[in-house]
């Protein structure tokens, strides 16, 4: 199974080369890849149908106990077959649809890459492996939605889809890590054996995060808005990613993790509520669409809601119904999307109201479309009929709130029928309307595939048990986590469910017949206006950007002085808070003696500081600062540290001289700040002065412990044979520091040399 995934990625990488060699034929050759993979997966059919779970382990990260495990049970195989099967149709279709497109190479690279990742998602047994492939599908979807990159709307939709699914993906990652922490294993098959997951304290968190991941991917309310916008992609992409496969990855994940996380009221009810809400809201929104693809997109969202809803329902019948409905939907919705693409391709419009009577121009396409639409409506004897019957059956037997649940499902079903009539039948019957392009029949490649899909929907419907019985049974068992025995039958007799099916069809027709009225009602009711999570998305996006802008303007305005003010005040705030809330100030001993000479020196230093601030010229400011430094040095002398004082004197002198040299080159002094700013600076400066004083007082009130002084005094002669303690410290005890200091000086010298050279180069 690893080989199947890898082959897709490798061929994707080779695609540009293949196109260079084969030119136009390349697309046909590449279309054989999914066909081949389909056959390959089909070869597993018998083993899986007999209940075998095929596993393939290759060592990946033994350190973490992560192996690249692939497993194939009914659920995986069903998805793999859908992915490769519909993939085959879509690849061939695209060969004709994009024939004259200059970026066709890129299309095949992306879509092969996508197919391989999608196969990885459905066959990975390892949660991290699954996640890796999951994100790859989001990424390839981004590139495919943005395929027509010269359109602004394409780019915007692509980004929107990526942000929504990407955010969900990250939530999913967190959820999967939690799952790993709860169960201690990364293999889904091993998680099944772990008990007590639902009573773990992290369970709720894990479920919420996993659900966010699944809901964003499968466009569940309130994340549904990205899917209709993703219709900016070419039609084959919409058919493949945004109806048949990628959007179902979320549903797949729910199904896959259902036996691990499911069974609790929280899990089931959340799925039921969100699935049901999505189903109904998307149905309402579908009513007012006139764009063929958007119409189908909203209907897809509604179906995805239904699938989630059914996993939430969780009964045996519901899970079986879910599997049948999923397969049926993949078949008919992919056909309808491809047909919408053909119509667009041949007539130049996708506006439903401009399309009518095309059957005389496009007889084959019309035939397929009507076939697919009938299956979608749930007409006897199509596969969609069985799906809808099982669904109704499951809801009626659910045991609680049947009426509420059924009305939700009924709305979904009726609107689905309405969409089928509008998108699949209406464009082909009735009188002819003029379209932007004069219509022709689409090329063979563009209707051959849909014919296969639509007839599959018909044949599966006639002989459901012999074609799909086993796989449906095994898939439903995998979702439930227990063995489900079931026989699919087309005909259950004239019962309540059948009656309701018929009523649904009638309502669907009525909806179509009076569609303008319903569209008006839908618009007037404002369902679409006040439930608009996309607004939330736009709002939060623009809020994020303006927040970003505001905070950058505030914090990073480019002025050095401003940054320093900010840092100093942060430090002040933090220490000040601690100092005044929790320190006992009474420990500070301020009862020290002060001599007259000290007072004089201090007064001189204060006066010099004030002069430095008030000075109008740089030179006088610096000279005053020098005076402050000299004052400090004199205090050192008075406290018996002449060597320190000497150092201070020389440093001060040197600094002043260097400053003067630098000032010589500076432009004239300009006062930058006004009075208010100066007042602010004054407050900050005064506060930091007070704070420093407090801290120094606090520190000096402590007993200082120093082992070093006595150590050096005692050991410098016996150990280092030196009488001058300072010298011994410098060259012996702390020789490494001294060497470091010398290196610093050397580097500084090299730096200065480089700068002088720079200056000389500048003169030349």
């Amino acid at each position: 199974m690893l080989i199947a995934v890898l082959s897709g990625i490798i061929i994707a990488a080779l695609t540009p080369l293949i196109f260079r060699v084969m030119k136009e034929k390349a697309s046909l050759l590449l279309s054989l890849v999914p066909v081949f993979l389909f056959a390959w997966y089909l070869s597993y059919y018998n083993r899986v149908a007999n209940g075998e779970i095929i596993k393939e382990v290759s060592e990946w990260i033994p350190a973490m106990g992560i192996n690249l495990t692939f497993s194939m049970d009914g659920l995986s195989l069903l998805f793999a077959l859908i992915i490769t099967g519909i993939g085959s149709v879509v690849f061939f279709y695209a060969a004709a649809y994009l024939k004259h497109d200059k970026y066709i190479t890129r299309f095949y690279v992306y879509i092969l890459f996508f197919m391989a990742s999608m196969l990885g998602v459905v066959t990975s047994d390892n949660i991290f492996g699954l996640f890796v492939f999951w994100e790859l599908t989001s990424l390839s979807s981004y590139l495919l939605i943005g395929y027509y990159f010269d359109k602004e709307s394409s780019r915007k939709s692509a980004l929107q889809a990526l942000l929504v699914t990407g955010t969900g993906g990250l939530a999913l990652l967190a959820g999967l890590i939690l799952l790993y922490i709860i169960t201690g294993t990364t293999e889904i098959s091993e998680m099944l054996a772990v008990t007590g997951i639902s009573s773990h304290e992290l369970y709720t968190g894990a479920v919420i995060l996993v659900l966010i991941g699944a809901f964003t991917k499968s466009a569940q309310f309130p994340f549904h808005f990205w899917l209709p916008n993703a219709m900016a992609a070419p039609s084959p992409v919409s058919a493949y990613l945004h109806s048949a496969t990628m959007v179902k990855a979320g549903v797949f994940l729910l199904a896959r993790l259902n036996p691990v996380l499911g069974g609790t009221e929280f899990w089931q009810n959340t799925l039921l509520i969100f699935g049901g809400t999505t189903m109904v809201i998307a149905a309402f929104l579908a009513l007012k669409q006139t764009d063929l693809k958007k119409l189908l997109a909203y209907s897809t969202v509604s179906v995805l809601g239904t699938l989630t809803f059914m996993i939430g329902l969780g009964t045996e019948t519901a899970l079986k119904g879910m599997v049948i409905y999923l397969l049926a939907h993949s078949l008919f919705k992919a056909s309808l999307f491809l047909i919408a693409g053909s119509i667009d391709h041949e007539t130049g419009t996708r506006n439903v109201s401009q399309l009518s009577g095309l059957k005389s121009f496009m007889p084959f396409t019309a035939f397929v479309a009507i076939f697919a639409a009938l299956s979608k409506m749930g007409f006897f004897p199509f596969y969609g009929f069985i799906g809808k019957e099982t669904l109704y059956d499951a809801v009626l037997k659910s045991g609680s709130n049947e009426i509420l649940l059924f009305s939700a499902v009924f709305i979904g079903g009726a609107v689905s029928g309405f969409v089928a009539i509008t998108a699949g039948i209406k464009p082909f019957i009735g009188r002819t309307i003029e379209t932007p392009k004069s219509p022709h029949e689409a090329p063979l490649l563009m209707y051959a595939g849909p014919i296969v899909l639509a007839s599959a929907g018909f044949i599966f419907g006639l002989l459901p048990e012999s074609f799909t019985g086993n796989i449906v049974e095994k898939t439903a068992s995998a979702i439930a986590g227990t063995n489900i025995e079931y026989t699919i039958k087309l005909w259950h007799g004239f019962n309540l469910v059948f009656l309701l099916s018929v009523v649904t069809l009638v309502v669907a027709y009525l909806l179509y017949r009076f569609r303008t009225k319903f569209t008006n009602i839908s618009i007037a009711s404002g369902v679409g206006d006040f439930i608009k999570p996309s607004m939330l998305y736009d709002k939060s996006l623009s809020m994020m950007i303006s927040l970003a802008r505001g905070q950058t303007r505030l914090l990073q305005n480019g002025y050095m002085r401003y940054y320093i003010v900010l840092i100093v005040s942060t430090a002040l705030g933090l220490t000040g808070y601690v100092l005044f809330t929790s320190v006992d100030m009474s420990v500070i001993d301020i009862s020290f003696d002060i001599t007259f000479s000290e007072v004089v020196i201090l007064l001189v230093m204060i006066a010099a500081s004030i002069t430095a601030i008030k000075a109008k010229r740089r030179l006088s400011a610096i000279a005053s600062l020098g005076v402050v430094g000299y004052g400090v040095a004199i205090i050192f002398i008075m406290y018996g540290a002449p060597d320190l004082a000497l150092t201070q004197f020389s440093i001060e002198t040197l600094t002043v001289i260097l400053f003067v040299l630098a000032i010589y080159r500076l432009p004239k002094y300009l006062p930058f700040s006004n009075t208010t700013l100066r007042f602010r600076d004054f407050i900050i400066a005064a506060a930091s002065g007070v704070m420093m004083t407090m801290i120094v007082l606090l520190v000096t009130s402590e007993e200082m412990v120093s082992q070093l002084k006595s150590f050096f005094a005692e050991n410098s002669l016996p150990l280092a044979k030196g009488k001058n303690v300072v010298n011994v410290i410098l060259v012996d005890f702390r020789a490494l520091d001294t060497m470091g200091e010398i290196t610093v000086l050397a580097i500084a010298a090299i730096g200065v040399y480089a700068l002088i050279k720079l200056r000389m180069e500048g003169r030349k």
Partner: protein, 495 residues
């Protein structure tokens, strides 16, 4: 008490190699004063020797030092190895950098100064004495100030250098004050000694706290943690790209090594069997590091959001990444430390790669404005694909190495039950996705009038780029070697 000379040599072997090469580089530059290739080769050779010495020294570490100023342990060697790799890449970049090559005659000093930085960083990763730490920091900073202003083409260059200098001076003054307070409290500058005093006697908690905050300010400046990051965007934008890339990776690595060592040696009581660090309670490290980390990543990401200059954008993104790495430290477990080490290795590759592509584009177009990247995906296909991979990796999405970094980080966070923190980090990743994708959009999805002409990329650049792209992809798919190496290196000398 008097250390054995051969022991000292074995403790500081990599540093000695670097110091000797530094002198050689200066000499070689003096001998061949017109041709700068020998100096470069000497520099590269010295680094390779240092790398070999480091790898050789790994198995023999773990000596418990007795009042030495440096220790030699696998943690330090790991970071040294990252610094060596980064420096080698920077030398490779330099050979391709228009900005530096144009300053032909001054190239010798360029290599010498880079070596000065390396020496400072090496000492930072292994120093356990506050004074040596300070000197190493100065060595590193002084060299980087000059390098930041190395090119004379634009005024923003000198502005960057001056801002860096002033900011650096203030931070190092902060740090020095903190160091002197700690000395005053404990009577020693050796970190082990400080630990001993802190665990046996009661010191004034507020003074200690203040001292620690001051030292954090110094370290925070090196790793550009908020609110000590203000210099970062200006300096990153103004410096030559090679130096920007270098500052964003190597300098940060040294800062983080220092932070980890400072926290773990000074404040640790013992390490539990499951790898949790028990600190001696003198200072609530976890809270302050978490707050710092969250602030850093949020401010970094939000500021990156609307930047138009790619260098500036990457500067903010590197601030954000410092935030993620800080979170790994804040967990205060061995798992957290492993995640930091993995993240760093990954960050090195992807960040260097991103800067290299920016440099290649800037070499052709003379600007780093985001509009210069319009259609780069088609005009420079390989560079475009490479940058895409680096950006995806920076976001932390599979199948790139960046994903592994994030995965281990989140694992460490969730393993310590820090759900809320992980959630904020996650939100941050979403924000970062937005601005990284914006670059992608410019490269691939922007209107390009007609099929533009391809811009030739030198074979040399392609090879260097591959050296970074291949591991980013390789470790994204098969990350065992990386994890094993990091786990092997989580050994640090405490007491």
């Amino acid at each position: 008490m008097i250390p054995n000379l051969s022991e000292i040599f074995s403790l500081t072997a990599p540093e000695i190699v670097i110091a000797v090469t530094l002198i050689l580089v200066v000499l070689v530059d003096l001998i061949w004063d017109k041709n700068k290739v020998p100096a470069m080769f000497t520099a590269a050779l010295g680094l390779i020797v240092a790398g070999v010495v480091i790898l050789n020294g790994m198995p023999e570490t773990g000596m418990i030092p007795n009042n030495y100023m440096v220790v030699s342990d696998k943690l330090g060697l790991y970071f040294k190895f990252i610094i060596v790799l980064t420096t080698l890449f920077i030398l490779l970049f330099t050979y391709d950098s228009k900005e530096i090559i144009e300053s032909h005659l001054r190239q010798g000093e360029y290599y010498a100064l880079v070596y000065g930085m390396v020496l400072g960083m090496f000492f930072l990763t292994s120093a356990v004495d506050l004074i040596l730490i300070y000197i190493a920091l100065e060595l590193l900073s002084l060299s980087s100030y000059v390098l930041a202003g190395f090119s004379d083409k634009e005024t923003r260059n000198s502005e960057a250098a001056v801002k860096y200098l002033i900011y650096g001076a203030i931070s190092s003054a902060f740090m020095l004050f903190g160091i002197s307070l700690i000395y005053g409290l404990t009577g020693t500058t050796n970190l082990y000694g400080v630990n001993e005093v802190l665990s046996t006697t009661v010191v004034n908690i507020y003074t200690l706290g203040f001292a620690v905050i001051l030292i954090i300010a110094g370290i925070g400046y090196k790793i550009s943690a908020v609110p000590f990051h203000f210099w970062t965007p200006d300096v990153y934008e103004g410096s030559p790209i090679t130096i920007t890339a270098y500052l964003s990776v190597a300098s940060k690595a040294a800062g983080f090594a220092l932070l980890i060592r400072f926290v773990s040696i000074t404040f640790i009581d013992h390490v539990k069997a499951d790898g949790e660090w028990i600190l001696n309670g003198a200072f609530d490290w976890q809270t302050i590091l978490i707050v710092l980390a969250l602030l850093t990543m949020t401010v970094g990401n939000l500021s990156a959001l609307w930047q138009k200059n790619i260098k500036r954008l990457l500067a903010y993104s590197s601030v954000a990444h410092a935030g993620y790495i800080l979170l790994g430290v804040a967990v205060l477990t061995n798992l957290g430390l492993v995640s930091v080490m993995i993240y760093f290795a990954v960050y090195m590759m992807m960040n260097l790669g991103a800067f290299y592509v920016v440099m290649l584009v800037a070499n052709k177009t003379g600007s780093e404005h985001i509009s210069q990247f319009d259609g780069i995906g088609y005009t420079m296909p390989y560079a475009g694909v490479a940058l895409t991979i680096f950006l995806v990796s920076l976001t932390g999405l599979p199948p790139t190495a960046g994903f592994i970094g994030k995965l281990y980080l989140f694992l460490a966070l969730l393993d310590s039950n820090m759900l809320m923190v992980a959630f904020i980090a996650l939100l941050n990743t979403v924000i970062s996705l937005y601005y990284y994708v914006r670059i992608l959009k410019h490269m691939y999805l922007k209107n390009v009038a007609e099929m533009p002409e391809k811009i030739e990329t030198r074979g040399y650049s392609t090879v260097v780029l591959s050296l970074l792209v291949v591991p980013v992809l390789f470790f994204g798919i098969y990350w065992t070697p990386l994890i094993d190496f990091a786990k092997y290196c989580v050994e640090f000398v405490i007491k």
